[in-house]
Point group: C2
Chain length 206, copies 2
């Protein structure tokens, strides 16, 4: 009888531990702290983000050479991604969080003719660029965003790390023309649709 | 002394339970069975997928009206996504798994001029389409892919469920022109880059 009582106590304790463990693992999954995917070297160079092709894609602007007298400033397709935690944060709050990373992958115009008609179709990867928001690291940059280009010349693989671009080279135009805190949300339907989801009924949205 | 021994035993047991719980939660996360996101009604209509904007984006073909004498068959931007489990499966094996879902979201041409130059920029959502691969459900369809359109007329919100399209309307062209098992991988750099990652050193790839 005493043995049985001890066993019951053990069982109860084990059950409690199991529930606690389950709760803590769930919390670690659902409410995990949003960690920035931006990683820097000791010298402050940004290490090229990995796995961004599984982040949240927000849009694909295109300004091809043949629509810009053969000399487009950005003659490629741009595939633009935002890290998943920052997307969720933006959905909830409509704000860009500290540590947000937006990656722009550059892709050649591969062809202009397909079974579906005349148009523009993606070719090969040409480069990778990123912008990182950090009040801590970039207190004096507009909106605390810094810009980085990992793109190498002659279609070489992209650099593994790089220093930030001069403010005049990227931030100025983003500041002047981007709709929202240096982000071109006017071209990104995914972000426009996401904004405010937290305060509206998702069923009523597209 | 006896109490201390009992406490130690309890502690050891609790520790063991904790480890077991941790192991099972990890396994549930890492090795979870790949479940198809395709959901059907009892009548075999496909229920419109949710959350596909957080799936893996593979490319954005564009055949605008003004490049097709004002009458393009597909005058919108297409944002093409594949469900995450199928992407991982494709990376490992180079094959499309049973239950794979590819979603094509239709987006208007919003503008043709921006700070970055003349081009094509995404506007608003117009519709949603999907293709689902299932040998079980579509044994007689080419490649076992069936095609669905949730797009409503007059920019109404998309349908919540729909029957599959006639084979002649989608599958025939996909079969004739798509590079790989009815999927237009020739226009999807993300998929071309992913294929074979499992058998090569990812560091050597773009």
């Amino acid at each position: 009888m005493k043995f049985k009582l001890a066993s019951l106590r053990l069982l109860a304790l084990a059950g409690g531990v199991l529930l606690l463990a389950a709760a803590s693992f769930q919390a670690a999954d659902a409410g995990k702290p949003a960690v920035s995917p931006a990683r820097f070297t000791a010298d402050g160079e940004l290490i090229r983000p990995r796995d961004y092709r599984t982040w949240v894609y927000v849009g694909a602007p295109l300004t091809p050479n043949d629509m810009n007298e053969g000399a487009a400033a950005f003659p490629e397709f741009h595939s633009v991604y935002i890290d998943r935690d920052s997307y969720e944060h933006y959905k909830r709050t409509g704000q860009w969080r500290e540590g947000a990373v937006i990656v722009k992958e550059l892709i050649s115009v591969g062809s202009k003719q397909a079974a579906s008609g005349q148009g523009y179709f993606m070719g090969d990867y040409l480069g990778v660029e990123a912008m990182v928001k950090s009040r801590e690291r970039f207190p004096d940059e507009p909106g605390n965003w810094a810009f980085f280009s990992f793109t190498s010349l002659n279609r070489e693989p992209p650099k593994k790390q790089t220093v930030r671009m001069p403010t005049a080279q990227c931030a100025q135009c983003h500041q002047a023309s981007a709709k929202e805190n240096l982000v071109f949300t006017q071209h990104y339907p995914v972000l426009r649709a996401a904004k405010g989801v937290g305060t509206e009924n998702p069923e009523n949205r597209w």
